[in-house]
């Protein structure tokens, strides 16, 4: 049985990873068709010349970095607050935000924004996208940081208080350093879910805030395009590295 299980695992891992490997291999193909003709960097050069793609990448980076910074700071504080004493409302709403179907999150945010715009002179744009991203990535940050807090010894904080630190001082000088690896891991996860989101983003983005997934989606809908293979390979490699580092930090 052991042998069979191992063989099966090889097949299962192939199923999970080979589609992306094939994508990566064909991104280096000199032909635009599904026949290998030779190694070339044509499609990578083409993507560097694609203005839309570059602009969308810059937008995506601004949004992801902004949303990550806000979500990481607020999420870390919230995790600490929940660890002190849980709040069924905050914990429940974070859990709900994690499991709400993306399409529902997207249309409901769109409805809210449009309603607000009746009273405030604003339009959909980068700010609405960043707000939406902070909303859905907060829960990821809280989950990761809270997991680390569960292994934290509260008597260390008490010792700091006894030695004259105030509540905030104890948090900043004792607890936060202990949490640091998990905060970094959480930030990387938040960045990943933000830079990758299409469904919610496409609903709350304005004309001037096209993101990378939106351009990728449009290209995929149009069909065959080796440039898309090149973009995908770059993103998957980048995110893969980020995830590996994040996993390592989380386990440390």
């Amino acid at each position: 049985m052991k042998r069979g299980l191992a063989l099966y695992a090889v097949a299962a891992y192939a199923f999970l990873h080979v589609p992306l490997l094939i994508l990566a291999v064909f991104s280096f193909n000199s032909s635009r068709f599904t026949v290998w003709e030779g190694f070339s960097l044509t499609w990578y050069r083409a993507l560097l010349r694609d203005g839309d793609l570059i602009e969308a990448s810059v937008n995506s980076l601004i949004i992801a970095l902004g949303a990550t910074a806000i979500a990481t700071i607020l999420g870390t504080l919230a995790a600490y607050g929940l660890w002190k004493r849980s709040s069924p409302w905050v914990a429940g709403s974070l859990y709900l935000s994690l499991v709400t179907p993306e399409i529902v999150t997207g249309v409901s945010l769109l409805a809210l924004f449009q309603w607000i715009f009746r009273f405030v002179h604003l339009r959909l744009g980068m700010h609405t996208v960043i707000l939406a991203h902070v909303g859905f990535s907060l829960a990821y940050v809280v989950v990761v940081v809270l997991a680390r807090l569960r292994s934290f010894d509260p008597t260390l904080e008490e010792a700091a208080l006894d030695l004259g630190a105030n509540e905030f001082g104890a948090f900043r000088r004792v607890t936060l350093p202990y949490l640091a690896p998990s905060v970094a891991a959480a930030a990387m996860l938040a960045f990943t879910v933000s830079i990758d989101d299409y469904v919610i983003t496409s609903l709350v983005a304005g004309v001037d805030s096209q993101t990378l997934p939106m351009v990728i989606y449009a290209m995929a809908r149009r069909g065959v395009n080796p440039v898309l293979n090149a973009v995908s390979t770059m993103i998957v490699t980048g995110l893969g590295i980020l995830i590996m580092v994040s996993e390592r930090l989380r386990r440390s």
């Binding site: 052991k2 399409i103 409901s108 409805a111 995929a220 996993e247």
Partner: protein, 274 residues
């Protein structure tokens, strides 16, 4: 405690703004009437909910349910042996686990696109089969229910493997040894001891896969095309092309209700995520 409240406040405010308020708006809209130029207007009505019983929409709802159920069953079938393999692999556990987690975090959109490019008429599968002379015309692999199910299983398999692994990992080895001592063969032990003890993991995994499959939008949109419209696509369409926000809101609420009930049902004490 003052510090704790101050730390929780911004997140509570953001959840109000990005989750509670949007849901409240959707709830209100679902009882209103579609406006002449998009948007919503009075009078109040429950017609948006009764419309879901229209055969046209019931077909879509039913399709969403059976596709999600079948994808969940396939994930369980494919995920269980993989979880078992990881749980029994000793020192290399973490590596094998990472190999499952990695695709789970790397771009859902790109992973779906990868299948698009494999399944299309000029994709690798059809081209290979044609060059081997096995088929003359390309097989219609893309834009059907099968492609959507494949995409869903591919995307959500990790959601099944992780909870299964977590329960298998905690399994008391003495029980397995006892079964073996009492004369059970490995297969018997698996079916009559391991599997029943895994029930919580199976339940959690099933819900974690079923709910996102039920609400999927991207997979059915890209791999199913216009032939496999699911609830998620119906919602999206009401808010964009058809501009019937009240009906879209009612559909969202229905989807949300099913998802919430299922998820809170499996969120048991002590195993809570938060």
């Amino acid at each position: 405690m003052k510090l704790r409240n101050a730390f929780l406040a911004p997140t509570a405010a953001l959840m109000l703004l990005t989750l509670v308020a949007p849901m409240a708006i959707i709830a209100v809209y679902s009882f209103l009437t579609r406006g002449a130029y998009g948007g919503v207007e009075q009078p109040w009505t429950i017609e948006n909910f009764t419309r879901l019983w229209d055969p046209l929409y019931l077909t879509i709802l039913w399709r969403s349910v059976w596709i999600a159920a079948l994808s969940t069953a396939l994930c369980l079938l494919l995920g269980f042996p993989l979880a078992l393999f990881i749980a029994r692999s000793g020192k290399r556990k973490n590596l094998y686990l990472s190999l499952v987690i990695l695709p789970f975090w790397t771009s859902y959109l790109i992973r779906t696109y990868a299948w698009m490019s494999l399944l299309r008429d000029t994709g690798l599968i059809n081209v290979t089969l044609q060059s081997l002379g096995l088929i003359k015309e390309p097989l219609p692999l893309l834009y059907n229910n099968g492609a959507v199910i494949l995409g869903l299983v591919y995307a959500f398999l990790p959601f099944m493997v992780l909870p299964l692994y977590a329960t298998l990992e905690r399994l008391d080895n003495n029980l397995l040894e006892a079964a073996a001592d009492l004369g059970a063969r490995p297969w018997e032990t698996l079916v009559r001891v391991t599997l029943p003890l895994c029930a919580p993991g199976i339940r959690a995994g099933a819900v974690l896969v079923f709910v996102p499959c039920l609400g999927t939008y991207l997979t059915s949109d890209l791999l199913g095309g216009s032939k496999t419209v699911l609830v998620g696509n119906l919602v999206q369409n009401q808010f964009t092309n058809s501009a019937d926000w009240p009906f879209g809101a009612a559909t969202s609420l229905a989807l949300m209700a099913v998802a919430t009930v299922l998820l809170f049902a499996v969120r048991r004490r002590g195993e809570e995520l938060l």
